[in-house]
Amino acid sequence: MIGRWRRSSETSRHESTVAKRQWFARRRYGFGVRPMTWQGWLITAIAVGGAVGALAGVQKTAGEILLVGVVGLYLALAFSLGGTKRQVVTDSRASGSDDDPELENGAAKVIVPPEIYGTQTPREIAEEIISRSGKFADTAEDGASSDSVIVVSHLTKQFGQRVAFEDVSFNVHRGEVFGFLGPNGAGKTSTVRTLSTLVSPTSGTAQVAGIPLNADRDVEIRHRIAVMTEVPGLYLRLSVTENLAFFAGLYGYRDAQPRIDRALEAVNLSSRASDLCGSLSKGLRQRVGLARALLNDPEIIFLDEPTAGLDPVASLEVHDLIIDLRDKGVTVFLTTHRLDEAEKLCDRVAILNTTLRTVGRIDDLRQRMFHKSILVSTAVPLADPEGLFSSIGSVAGWSTDDTGGYVLTVSDVRVAAPAIARALVAAGADVLSLVEGHHSLEEVYLELVGAGSMGGVR
């Protein structure tokens, strides 16, 4: 059973009716936490003036008049605390994240219509699917199972009128590295923040580490997860050990030194334990952030751009660490812009752009998005390629590529390849190579993200 987000009593009270919400909004603008409106200042002035005038008229003692004046000033300040600007309220990117806003995630039970496959290009396939369902997801692996440590169902988050992500559904299996990909502003960070209980979803349900995402159980979830934010967020005046000791304390560990030592060893930072974090390079700070995320032996670790700003060697170390974590059974939820990184590390990926474009194994996505193909390269162009290729029964079509080679669309590479080789030899072609076509994750990504924007899907 997936737990539905339970709002606090205060939230529920204000949301019980539209009228109440409107009243609350007016009250906030006029009197509460925003002092910049004329109503707020008027109310404050009336309160202060009234209090001072009334009491000063009754009691003439200097001390009491002074008391009233000071209390009046205090009330004025108290009623005008805050001052958060409206645009800050509605702009999630003001918090410093560059990839909050729109994510889409859908996908629980979307059946990909088989008739879509045929002569269409990958982009056409993607557009067709998105236009039909708004989602494009892995159908075989999408259902929740006992092996799922994150179960997300129709989750939506809005910041004011703006949708950060909408109707997102996916599952993450225990011990896998799950890649979360998308352009800036796709909603990746918002999703991570929602699943790590930092922000509450607008609607939908989710389970994290088997615990319903629920305001009453957020502490329980936070005990079992770790989050490494894009910016490490270290106390620069404290040493590496002091930083980790602080966070170990927040997890409630009494004697944390063994944990700290283990975490530092895991990220190869034991020799810098006494250094102030302010003296470390960006890469080393990132590693301290990773060490911090390992302190509580989390079941699920959320890594938000863990290799951002790292040099290739440091990135490789992080990759090795992620692989180690997976080998130890830790589930890694990896948010990244680096598609090569995702391709190397991730068992499955989700691609988002406010709504979920796809989720699944990378190989499956390739197969779904692109026809199987064989690339043929010859020393000299074929005299009659149309006649040659059309005579091979297992070849569905062909085209030339930028290098003058031939791209043959086939249904089964293992059946077609020998037939093509025989036909080419029989035709006297000087064959340089005959290889199976390979499409990168980047191609899948660009097709899906591009299709969404072209198809008018938000």
């Binding site: 205060e10 939230t11 204000h14 949301e15 919400r21 409107q22 909004a25 200097a62 001390g63 009491e64 002074l66 008391l67 000071v70 000033l73 205090y74 300040l77 108290a78 605390l81 805050g82 958060t84 600007k85 800050v88 309220v89 509605t90 702009d91 999630s92 918090s95 410093g96 909050d100 809005q158 910041f159 004011g160 009128q161 923040r193 209980t197 930092l198 922000v199 607008t202 502490v219 936070r222 997860i225 989050v227 934010t229 910016v231 490490p232 967020g233 270290l234 106390y235 620069l236 404290l238 002091e242 602080f246 966070f247 304390g249 927040l250 409630g252 560990y253 102030l276 952030g289 911090r292």
Partner: protein, 253 residues
């Protein structure tokens, strides 16, 4: 809700470590009390035994007022920085992903600001009264060495400091700019001076009973402030700049 002493201690320890590494905090914590103690000491030391009792009484009252200003003003800027400062340096989000509750976090922050303040206030009070006993005229010493003043200092210093801290923390939890928070925090702490002001104006004399009653009232206010400020601590607003309630209202959900 039960609080974890380990987590609260972790917050306090971290704050103290940061104070130690930031010498300006130490310097400012020492400078203001030094001025507030030195000036009245000079004044009181200049009073002779032939001075009119009313003048002596007034001067002593003003001195003790200044001593109670220390716990009010000293922690105001620290408290005002407590939450917005974490956000400003990018440490708030990692911190909030841990199991620490807002009550634990805020209590730790508050104690970390209150404890050194009270320590400084007590220290300077002791220095003052000892100096007066040793060097001031007997009429001054007699006025200062009153149990009621000692009781007032003992009880009011931590409670006024806590009041000031909670006001500053409330501002910090709702502000979007460190500078604004610190300026407002200092201003908003001033009303706490009403109590010592009334004492120095001799509107009431802090007898033992009065002091205890006022202390109980202040303690209740401080505990209430802790709860209220905890409610004001909105994770979502602090992380994204938008409160969940406002967003839902605007989204019409």
């Amino acid at each position: 809700m039960s609080q974890s002493a380990i987590r609260i201690r972790a917050v306090i320890r971290k704050e103290f470590q940061e104070y130690r590494r930031n010498r300006f905090i130490i310097y400012t914590m020492g400078t203001l009390p030094l001025i507030f103690t030195a000036l009245p000491v000079i004044t009181l030391f200049s009073i002779s035994n032939t001075e009119a009792p009313s003048i002596v009484k007034t001067q002593v009252a003003i001195t003790l007022l200044l001593l109670l200003v220390i716990p009010v003003v000293l922690p105001a800027t620290i408290a005002a920085y407590s939450v917005i400062g974490e956000r400003d340096q990018g440490t708030l989000e990692p911190l909030l992903t841990t199991p620490v509750t807002r009550e634990e976090f805020l209590l730790g922050k508050s104690l970390a600001a209150t404890i050194p303040t009270v320590g400084v206030a007590y220290t300077f009070f002791i220095v003052l009264v000892v100096a007066i006993r040793l060097g001031a005229s007997s009429v001054v010493a007699h006025q200062v060495w009153q149990p009621s003043w000692f009781l007032a200092e003992l009880l009011f210093a931590p409670l006024l400091a806590a009041w000031s801290v909670w006001v500053g923390t409330a501002i910090s939890a709702r502000s979007s700019d460190v500078r604004v928070a610190q300026q407002l925090g200092t201003l908003a702490s001033l009303p706490a001076l009403v109590l010592p002001l009334l004492m120095s104006l001799q509107v009431f004399k802090p007898t033992a009973a009065v002091a205890i009653v006022i202390a109980l009232a202040l303690a209740a206010i401080d505990v209430g402030a802790w709860r209220i400020v905890s409610k004001m601590f909105d994770r979502e607003r602090l992380i994204t700049g938008a409160s969940a309630v406002t967003m839902r209202a605007e989204a019409g959900t």
